[in-house]
């Protein structure tokens, strides 16, 4: 009888079970970690998208404001305001200008400064200078 009971009993293979549980544990953790990372990626992606949108919005606002400033300070707009009397031109005599630094002649850097009677490279003698900046 005893012998029969022993025969009917299966031994629990603790080692095998432990190995399997560890393996499944690893798989579960890896899976969860994968999902966590994926969610993080989505979350970061969404943040990137909203930052991009914000940046774009700011850029667009900046461009719109720059265009507005350009329009309001354009030659035509200023002339109109001058004609209407909102602004006026005041003559500043050369003697009333305190120069912190001495005037730079145009030949040095090619910058046209019409307020100075320096030799404008465009209109001076020799080959006309074409790279003129404001």
């Amino acid at each position: 009888m005893k012998g029969n009971r022993r025969r009917a009993t299966n031994a629990i293979e603790v080692n095998f079970l432990t190995r399997m549980m560890v393996l499944f544990g690893f798989l579960i953790i890896a899976g969860l970690f994968f999902v966590y990372l994926k969610n993080q990626q989505h979350s970061v992606g969404n943040q990137a998208r909203s930052v991009e949108a914000e940046l774009h919005e700011t850029e667009a606002k900046c461009e719109a404001l720059q265009a507005r400033i350009t329009t309001l300070t354009s030659r035509g707009a200023l002339q109109r305001r001058l004609d209407e009397g909102y602004i006026r031109l005041e003559t500043i005599r050369d003697t009333a200008i305190a120069r912190v630094t001495p005037p730079i002649p145009a030949e040095v850097d090619g910058v046209l400064r019409t307020a100075l009677r320096d030799t404008d490279p465009r209109f001076g003698s020799g080959v006309p200078q074409r790279v003129l900046k404001r």
Partner: protein
Amino acid sequence: MTGRIGVLCALLVLVFTGFAWRLINLQVLQHDYFSAIAAEKHLIKKVIPARRGRILDRNGEELAVNVPIRTITADGTRIQDPAKLATLAAPFLGMDGGELRAKLTSAFSSKKAYMIVCKGVSEENTQNLLRAMDAAKLRGLYPEEASERNYPNGEMLCHVLGFADRGGHGIDGIEKIFDAELSGHEGFRWIERDRKGREIVLYRGQEQLPEQGTDIRLTIDMGLQAIVEKEVDEAWKTYHPAGASAILADPMTGEILAMACRPNYDPNHFNQAQPDQMRNRAITDMYEPGSTFKIVVASAALNEGVVDEKTRIFCENGLFSYGGKTIKDHHKAGDMSVEEILQFSSNIGSAKMSLRMKDADYYGYVRRFGFGEKTGIPLHGEISGMVNPPGRWDMLTKTRMAFGQSVAVTPIQMVMAMSSIANGGRLMKPRLVISRGEGSSENEPDLVREVITPKTAKFVSASLEKVVSAEGTAPQAKVEGYTVAGKTGTAQKLNPHGGYLDGRFIVSFAGYLPAENPKLMGLVIVDDAKIGSSANYGGLVAAPVFSKIGAKAARYLDLPAEEVRVTAQSGNTGGATASVR
């Protein structure tokens, strides 16, 4: 028992074989088809628009800029409630609620994935709309990037700049000619959208950044342009002409510094402009130049050696019968030198100089001065004027061409021809662009050809100085502090039905300063000024405008004033036949 198990197994094998086949069919055989359907549903090629390049003047002043705007599109497949969405969005889009509802309902019912709902929505309104949609948990409207062209100076320089349409395509002027450079190339990005239509950043696909449009830097100086515009405006208001044009150029390099025409228009509202306002008369209109053309015959005769500085030509005391017609001079004189012929604008003297030359030689000089061919200015619509070859001349053509009849020129041709006298005989190609994009430059003046010798040019130039003396035809072109050389032109307007129109003139003055070392070349043309015939002369209408422009431009550029040589010549204003004075 075994048999039943066998059947069951066979059935299971069959079922799973079917599943496997279906799986292979879906995943392998029809992979491309289903991928395309999935891509169509979720993948979108998002266009990244390129920024249109700016147009700047020579000093970097902005002449054409971009204002960001948004185009709102609807995706019918994502709209849930078109009526509710329309009610919410209409105020932000500035649209009528009913109209918007109809559009959205149409997109919704046809499941149209892309429909443009509204263009030109400001950035602020767009952001407010998106926030309102988020709050109301509605979807189906999406903004697209766009921009609108803005011309900060309005009407100023409109004929040179031209304009771009709402789609950002250049239609006229610099905007059209350099449309490819200004436009750049748009980029793209493949994106996937979630259920709400938002981009899933994680699944961003292939991306190509846009190639931004290049900035175009013109030779125009807005300081000079403003001066020219103001004076042309004043002439426009004073004389109420049919048209007026003025050009300022650098005679040494052919650079166009200013160009203005009337009537004009505001390129910001180009759809309100009439075709007549949009015409750049400086390049698209031809006119009989009248006496300004005498520089051609004088230069040609001197250069060919048929006359010299000392040659005196008998001017028939003001009446010369030739070819059955009479040529008249205002200044009745006997013998005149070439210098005096120009100073007093003698038609007879000019005609006689032309008769001393062979037809082919004379025609050759007219062509070498650039008449009868396009100058090549980078603007749309330039014409070549009209110069008939000797084979088509009648007996009178040659003599009439000598004083600017039977020939038609454009203002820009006249500027370049006169510049060649100023710069020692070199015909330059007009330049309007300094650079196209960072690092590029088109600095080299473009010489077309040597027309006359420097000696001839110097002599003609000296003669043209006398034109602006107290005894010449254009004392009113004088600019205080500078010697001016120039020539007036007064030509009767052509009658479209043949002959000339009585009492209607196109008057002009072309000149440069300082005469000895020219820095500025200017041309002023007033077409059909509403003023009595006795006062409608180039020297009385156009020359004063030139003088004002010259004085202000010289001051603006701070040109050193020079000692004015006193010239004492006798005579009166030229002019003779019915049409040329």
